[in-house]
C-alpha cells in the first residue's frame, strides 16, 4: 500500500460559537487516510463526527460562527489555507460529500440531470449529459437517460442516495466523505448503498471516509476505524483488530452494547451508564472517565493519544490485549 497519506489531519479543533458559549465540537483530532482506503469514523450522536467531516472538507471554516485551528492537508493542499475560490475548486475536483438524508440533500425544484451537470466545467451540453448518464450508470441506476429528466421526489430513497453519490463523484474526487450515508434508509437499501460505496472504492480507487453511529455499518467494510467520543478520538485501529480486541473502555462498552446473533434469546443488552458530556463544558482530563468502570485518579489528566504500531488509543488504563 502507498505510504504517502492522501489526507492528513493534524490536531484539528472546531469551536462553534453558541448562545451558551463556545462549543468544542472537534477537540484535537489527528489521523491520516491513505489513497484508496475506506476509513471509518464511529461515534454517538453529538460526538462531533459530522462536524469533523465537514471541517476536514473545509465546508466548516473559521468565520463569525466558528473557529477552526489545526491543519488538514488533502493531496498536498492545506484545505484551511485556501481562499473561497480555491476551496470551491477543491470541492469541484478533489473531494466529494455524501449527505445523510437524500430526501433533503437534493434540491426539490431541480431535475436530477441539473444536479449532476451544473458543477461540470468546460463540457458542451451534450457531453455533460452523456457524462451525467455515465455517472448514473456507475452508481447502478437503471434507465439513466430517463432519470436525468426526473425530479428528486419522483425517485425512491435508495435511488436518491445513489444520485447524491453520483453528484459527489462528478468531479472524480480522490476522497469521498460519506456522512451517515445509510441512516435515513431502509435496512435492505442500506446494504445496497454500502455495497455500492465498497465497489466504487475498489473500482475507482477513491478513498472513502465512512462516518456512522452504527458499528455494523463500518464493520467489515472499513480498512481502519477511528472511534470518536466527545470531540476526540478514543481509539484508532485496523477494523479487524478493533472489533476483536478493543483497547479503549469506551470501544469495549460500545461493542458490548450491540446485540449478537449468538446471544441467547431475551438476554439483556449492555448499555453504557451515564450520558455523553456537555460539550460546552466538558470534563477536564479523560472525557469518558465519568462513565468508565476503569477510571482512577490518573484519569483527571487528559490521556495522550498514544500510537502503538498500527493502533492508537487515548486511555490511561487500556484494556488488555486478548489475555496477553
Amino acid at each position: 500500500m502507498n505510504d504517502a497519506p492522501l489526507l492528513s489531519v493534524d490536531d484539528l479543533r472546531t469551536e462553534i460559537r453558541t448562545a451558551r458559549g463556545p462549543l468544542r465540537a472537534v477537540d484535537g483530532v489527528s489521523f491520516t487516510v491513505r489513497p484508496g482506503e475506506m476509513f471509518g469514523i464511529v461515534g454517538e450522536s453529538g460526538s462531533g463526527k459530522s462536524v469533523l467531516g465537514r471541517t476536514v472538507m473545509g465546508l466548516y471554516t473559521s468565520g463569525p460562527a466558528m473557529t477552526v485551528t489545526g491543519k488538514v492537508v488533502l493531496d498536498g493542499t492545506d484545505v484551511h489555507a485556501l481562499d473561497d475560490a480555491g476551496r470551491r475548486r477543491l470541492w469541484r475536483s478533489r473531494v466529494g460529500m455524501v449527505f445523510q438524508d437524500p430526501g433533503t440533500a437534493l434540491n426539490p425544484v431541480k431535475r436530477v440531470g441539473r444536479h449532476l451537470t451544473e458543477a461540470m466545467r468546460g463540457l458542451s451540453r451534450a457531453a455533460a449529459r452523456d457524462r451525467a448518464e455515465e455517472l448514473l450508470r456507475l452508481v447502478g441506476i437503471p434507465e439513466p437517460r430517463r432519470r436525468l429528466r426526473q425530479y428528486p421526489h419522483e425517485l425512491s430513497g435508495g435511488m436518491r442516495q445513489r444520485v447524491v453519490i453520483a453528484v459527489a463523484l462528478a468531479g472524480e474526487p480522490s476522497l469521498l466523505i460519506a456522512d451517515e450515508p445509510t441512516t435515513a434508509l431502509d435496512v435492505t437499501v442500506q446494504k445496497q448503498i454500502l455495497d455500492l460505496l465498497g465497489r466504487l472504492q475498489a473500482e475507482l480507487g477513491t478513498a472513502i471516509i465512512l462516518i456512522s453511529h452504527d458499528l455494523a455499518v463500518v464493520a467489515g467494510r472499513a480498512d481502519r476505524v477511528a472511534v470518536m467520543y466527545a470531540g476526540r478520538l478514543a481509539e484508532l485501529a485496523p477494523a479487524g483488530e478493533l472489533f476483536d480486541s478493543p483497547r479503549h473502555p469506551y470501544t469495549e462498552a460500545l461493542l458490548a452494547s450491540v446485540p449478537r446473533l449468538g446471544d441467547p434469546p431475551h438476554s439483556v443488552l449492555r448499555t453504557i451508564d451515564g450520558a455523553p458530556p456537555d460539550m460546552a463544558a466538558p470534563p477536564d482530563g479523560c472525557r469518558f472517565a465519568p462513565r468508565c468502570r476503569h477510571a482512577s485518579p490518573a484519569c483527571a489528566a487528559p490521556p495522550e493519544f498514544a500510537a502503538d504500531g498500527a493502533r492508537a488509543v487515548a486511555c490511561h488504563h487500556p484494556v488488555d490485549l486478548g489475555g496477553a
Binding site: R88, W91, F99, Q100, N107, A119, H153, E154, V164
Partner: protein
Amino acid sequence: MARDLVKRLIELALVLVIVSMGTFALVDLMPSDPAVVVLGEGHTAAEYAAQRHSMGLDDALPVRYGHWVGDALTGDLGKSFIPPNSDVGGRVAAALPVSAELAVLALLMALVVAIPLAMWSAYRAGGVVDRAVGAVTFGVLSVPSFLAGMLFIALFAQRLGWFPRLEWSRIGDGLGGNLYHAFLPALTIALMEAATFTRVLRGDLITTLQEDFILSAKAKGMTPLHVLFHDALRPSSLSLVTLMGISLGRLIGSTVIVEYLFALPGMGTLIIGAADQGDVPMVQGAVLVIALIYVLVNAVIDLSYGRLDPRIRRAHV
C-alpha cells in the same frame, strides 16, 4: 391537469358571481337616490318616481341583477348617471391601462430592489447589511405613501426638475415618454411593496439556506451567487409570489392617493370621483372589472405554484 383547470374555472366563476352580487347591491346600499343623482335637486316626487321607473329600479333585485349581469357579459357595463352619460366600459377601458401599468411597473421596481436586498440580508443574516436593511424597510413601511409621494414630487420634480408632475403620457404616445411620466408615481408605490417583499423573501431565504441541499450545492463547489439564484431563490419564492398576486390586484384599484397626488387618470381617480357623485353604474363597472382582474391574477398565481415547485404539480393531479 385538464381536470384541475376545469375545477379552477368553476371556482373562478363562483367567486365572480359572488363579487358581482356584492357590487350590484351597491345601488341599494348607497345613501344617494339614483333618480336624484340623474335629475338633480328640486323636482317633484312624481318626477323622481317616473325616473326610477324608467331606469328599471322598480323591478325586483334579482331581475335587475339579471339584466345587469346579462349586459355585463356582452361587454356593456351601462351608462354613467352623470352627463354626458358616457359609456362606463369606455371610461374603464381608458383608466385601466394607467392603473395596471403603474401597478406592474411598481411591482417590477419592487422586485428589482427586493430580491438582491433580501439575498444579501439572508446570506449574512444578523450582519451589518441585514440590520441596516431591516431598519430601512421598517422605516419605509411606516411612511404613508402620500408623504413619500409628496417628498418625491418636492425633491425630484420641483427641486431637481428630473421628472414631470401632474402630467400623464399614454403608452400609445411613445414608450419613453410614458415611462418617464410613470416613473415617480410607480416609485412611490414601489417603495412600500419593496419593503414588504424584502422582509418576506428574506425570511423564506433564511429558512431555505439552512436546508441540506444548499450545503450540498456548496460542497459541489458552486459559488454563493449561483447557490442564491439557482438553488435558494425558487424554493423561497412561494410566499413572495402569493404576495405579488395580492399586491397586483390591490394596487390596480387602490392607488388612489398616488393617482391623486400625481393627477393621473387611473382607476382610483375614476372610482373616487364616481362614488363622490353617486354615479352608481360607474362604481359598479369599475369594481367588477377590478374584481375580475384580481381573481384572474390570483388564479394564474395558483397555477404558477406548480411551476415553482414540481412536488405541488403532482399533488394536484
